[in-house]
Point group: C2
Chain length 645, copies 2
């Protein structure tokens, strides 16, 4: 059942793809976001997030400014710094983080309370609007950051600040009559309390997390009662009501993903955590049901989720419009969080496949190659003129932006990438699961002995992976290699000898069980043909179309390579496509080339409507990885290409 937590062993990422991105986080995003949090950026909306803490700490005068959840931007930034420090020391950012932590300490109330919005703006209104005002959400992000910082540095100050706050929250919330029987409008604290439990071993945090999950959606509805207490007359803005915050039903009765996508996957993550730690099979089943619904009915090919701008929300099964979607960067990141926890519950390639799909596509499409501009919304089809002219697409930006007033996505990307090493392996007793292929060096303890592991690969550009094991002493363990769902053929060799892995496959992992000795080498060769992917026929918006995929990467066509009106391109069924590595393009990518066809608009003989046949001309197709789009010139993009049967 419980397959063990992601290894928190010392780990060095050596992967060319991800190390480059970690360096971007370190050298670009962390400094850039630090400037943003301190309002030193020009031409962007001010953040005021650090200033809010200064005001709360009494170090500065002024008014709170920003979103009610502005504190969480600082938290995510601190968490990202912590993960970077796990990878390699950095005095400058550690010192800066320590200064922020000192500031947090000063901003904290004597009772442990720590939230700049309420402390500065509405000191007497704490906990009066759990539904909308993100107090517990901000607490959760700060707890996550504190746990990460403690793990990375061993320093206890930040953790103790947050323990004080968590203890205060625990005094305020719970099933007891004298406590508030409510729960957050934006889930987040639930998963952070599990992390706090992991480092403190104090079960009360687990219990509080479970309370928030168990209480959610019960009748009479807490948010209704709270609203009545506030004497609020207006109907709730979201016409789906409590679906928005997944509190329309007790969580165990929920069968389809609904409402705000980020809220949903943060909650599902905590539910998976609790299912593991409390051995709650009903919660596990609910997680599996919801996982199947999201990934089999409501997920874009890029692992983007949330097909509606209204509520940044899920809509309904198979409703996946490519141009109107929200597909928020944060939602794909949250899906990765959830996938990781589902893997911890049960190692199954279906979780790792989606995790990988989100990592290489819907999540990192949120940033440019320099880590300085960001998409909040990641649709699979953008026509700039539509986005500029049509109101229902105003949420879609045709180019990445420097910063957002609601700046949740950039720091969320920073903390994800900085912690990428948390997603590679899980360990359980004598099993090491390899979920992701990327270059790294680590050491794990198995049966009381240290086992060094070195992974080398040129992933995602090719599927060759070499894993060297270096146990201190000969050690019996299972190395379970994920064979990705996209892999049509795979070859596994141990010390040069081909292994027939079909008989030792379980849930998509090849279980290599043996006594390993120093220098044993496993080679995995995943064939990476160009794949033509189709969507389930019920997905109306991708019907009759194909997308190109190679390995974990989803490809797209850009205007810069094809001119405008990408919709007029047809990919013939027998088109011969080739993959080629281009070192100098977009930081080095494998490009897909081939002959395709296109309706020749200049040959159209009729007016707006007519009965003549469209003329078709051959063209050269060039597809690039979706994550890299809009790094050359702004213009149209399309993932789903018309298929010519």
């Amino acid at each position: 059942m419980y397959q063990g937590k992601i290894a928190n062993s010392p780990m060095k990422i050596t992967d060319s793809f991800w190390k480059e991105r970690m360096d971007i986080v370190k050298n670009q995003m962390i400094p850039y976001q630090w400037d943003a949090l301190n309002d030193r950026l020009t031409d962007t909306e001010p953040s005021h997030a650090i200033e809010n803490f200064r005001i709360a700490a009494g170090e500065s005068d002024g008014e709170f400014y920003g979103m009610v959840f502005q504190d969480s931007d600082v938290a995510k930034w601190l968490e990202a710094v912590a993960y970077l420090l796990e990878n390699e020391p950095d005095d400058k950012w550690e010192n800066t983080a320590d200064e922020v932590i000192d500031l947090l300490e000063k901003a904290q109330g004597a009772d442990g309370y720590l939230n700049t919005y309420y402390t500065v703006k509405e000191p007497n209104r704490r906990w009066t609007n759990l539904r909308d005002n993100h107090e517990l959400y901000c607490a959760g992000h700060l707890i996550e950051a504190a746990v990460a910082y403690y793990r990375a540095t061993g320093k206890g100050k930040f953790l103790n600040i947050m323990i004080r706050y968590a203890d205060y929250i625990d005094e305020m919330f719970g099933p007891e009559d004298h406590k508030i029987n409510g729960y957050p409008g934006h889930q987040e604290i639930e998963l952070s309390l599990v992390k706090l439990y992991e480092v403190t071993n104090n079960e009360k945090y687990l219990k509080l997390s479970k309370f928030f999950i168990d209480e959610r959606g019960k009748q009479p509805h807490y948010f209704d009662m709270e609203k009545q207490s506030r004497k609020e007359g207006k109907p709730y803005w979201f016409s789906g009501g409590h679906r928005y915050s997944q509190s329309h039903l007790p969580v165990r009765e929920q069968e389809t993903a609904t409402g705000h996508a980020v809220r949903a996957v943060y909650m599902y993550s905590a539910m998976a955590d609790l299912a593991a730690y409390t051995n709650d099979s009903s919660l596990k089943e609910t997680c599996e049901k919801l996982w199947n619904n999201v990934t089999n009915k409501q997920m874009y090919l890029t692992a983007g989720i949330g097909s509606m701008e209204y509520g940044e929300a899920f809509s309904f099964d198979y409703d996946l419009p490519n141009d109107l979607s929200y597909t928020e960067t944060c939602a794909s990141i949250g899906l990765i969080f959830w996938a990781k926890r589902m893997l911890e519950l049960e190692a199954h390639h279906k979780y790792a496949d989606v995790m990988e799909r989100a990592l290489y596509n819907g999540a990192i499409s949120g940033m440019d190659l320099e880590g300085q501009k960001f998409f909040y919304v990641n649709p699979l089809e953008v026509v700039p003129q539509e986005v500029e002219s049509r109101n229902e697409k105003k949420h879609v930006k045709p180019v990445r932006q420097k910063w957002y007033g609601c700046a949740c996505c950039p720091p969320n990307l920073a903390r994800l990438i900085a912690s990428i090493h948390h997603y590679i392996y899980t360990k359980s007793n004598e099993e090491i699961f390899v979920h992701l292929y990327m270059g790294n060096e680590t050491t794990m303890e198995i049966g009381g002995h240290q086992v060094g592991i070195t992974q080398k690969t040129n992933y995602p550009w090719d599927g060759k992976v070499a894993i060297e094991l270096s146990p201190e002493v000969d050690t019996t363990l299972t190395l379970a290699l994920r064979i990705p769902g996209w892999a049509v053929t795979a070859e596994v060799k141990v010390n040069g000898e081909i292994i027939d892995f079909q008989p030792i496959m379980k849930n998509g992992y090849a279980f290599l069980s043996r006594t390993w000795k120093q220098g044993d080498t496993v080679k995995l060769n995943l064939d990476m043909p160009i794949q033509r992917v189709r969507a389930h026929p019920a997905v109306r918006h991708s019907f009759g179309k194909v997308a190109l995929q190679r390995g974990p990467l989803v490809y797209c066509l850009e205007q810069v390579d094809h001119g405008e009106q990408l919709h007029s391109i047809y990919l013939p069924k027998d088109a011969d496509l080739k993959a080629e590595y281009e070192r100098d393009l977009l930081g080095g990518i494998v490009t897909l080339f081939g002959e395709a066809e296109r309706v020749d608009e200049s040959e159209w003989q009729d007016g707006l409507y007519g009965t003549s046949d469209p003329e078709i001309k051959p063209i050269q197709l060039k597809a690039i990885p979706y994550y890299a789009w809009c790094n050359r010139e702004p213009g149209e993009v399309v993932v789903w290409i018309n298929e010519k049967l």
Copy 2:
């Protein structure tokens, strides 16, 4: 140049298609709308329109209720009654109309002013918000109604009321310094003043109409100055600013249709009128330019216009999404008004083709076959679950509604259908143009003699038309028969003798010039094959698809005939389609049948995404005229069908 006004000769519609609809107007819509205007309907939003007049007349106490343009609903209803009286006498409705007219007289101010909103609600704020508050718009509709009522009944009371009001408006508005140099936010009075000029021969009304058109869009902008006078701080709600009301530029500088579609076509109609009456070639050229833009770049196959809900507006060239459009019934009706006036400027089949397209498709789709329920929005693709779940489609209703709070469309349809006889012919000197084919009997004066004309046809179900001329004395005249753009082959016979009409074709009309004698018969036979229509390749939303058309009718597929997920149907290029008249279906229609193909969802082997080939199965296709959709069961509808190349 000026081809003469639509003949206002006595006319009897005998056409089975249109007479049935006129009877629906008379027996259903007029009584139903009368009940609506008097708040006698249950389960619908109250109209309060008659009550507003009662309050303004001092006959009732209470507050104004409804839209600021509520008066126009009464006006359109009166206008529809007038047109019905033109066709045949009806004491009941004439008496009722006379009572309403008495009420209007009582509601009119001593100075001639007549607007219930301002009279009741803001008596001291007349003309302070021309941009938003529809005063001149309501005046325009009342003038149109008065002219129609005078023409139908010869009674002068209503006309005199409106002459008093128009005279008052003429005193208030104009280029002179002491007058208001403004113009309406919603165009309408411009075209009504031309009608008033037509019955009164008083050029000041023409001049006032021309003033409104000429002044529009000049800088400094009247609406900006007016806004400043109101000390209004907020930015204008429509992000396109003055484009919304086509006042972003002086009208002669406008080259593409933009903004609110109904406003646009009402304005273009007035411009065409003025171009004719004032021989203004710059205005005529502008009309032609705008006509070409609308009909060659921004019009749906159904002659729906306005592809955006935001602003109920045009968007940009070739941007014609089938599911998100506004395509308001009123906008197609306005396009018919404009087409009629373009035909009066120059008889060209391109105007009549669009007029016919709008009449048989985008306009009458706005009502059900009983004339009791109405669509405001007429998209070419509806999936009920999308409409119910997705906010950006909330303007689309999956079924026709009984009445609307903003009830512009139902009475607009009533007045259009009741006046259908105005659209068949134009007459100029010795030319009679036949623009529309429908059964009717009329008499026209040519060279001082009466010429009886009888048209018989089973249009739109077949293309055989018989026209019998009965001049009092042998009369030399040209009968110019429109050969519709959709007609691939046509045969013209005069008294049984086939005419080679190609040499006598001009602008799509066959000019039959001869001395006609009593009983001469012209037979036109337009072949009506089933046509597979494609959209210009730049129309991304209809790319790779075909629509079925037969004669003037655009066809659609409905869920009731095919199950849900209409998007999964393919029409093979060589599919054999047959047309068959079904007497008992939907009031009697020609249905299109044939073999098509469909992706068999039940055979799909993958999950949400996969590389397997979709399985295709043969199905029977059944297409019905678009106007008749949603008269059996609610469900999906689609006009554009995937084409299998």
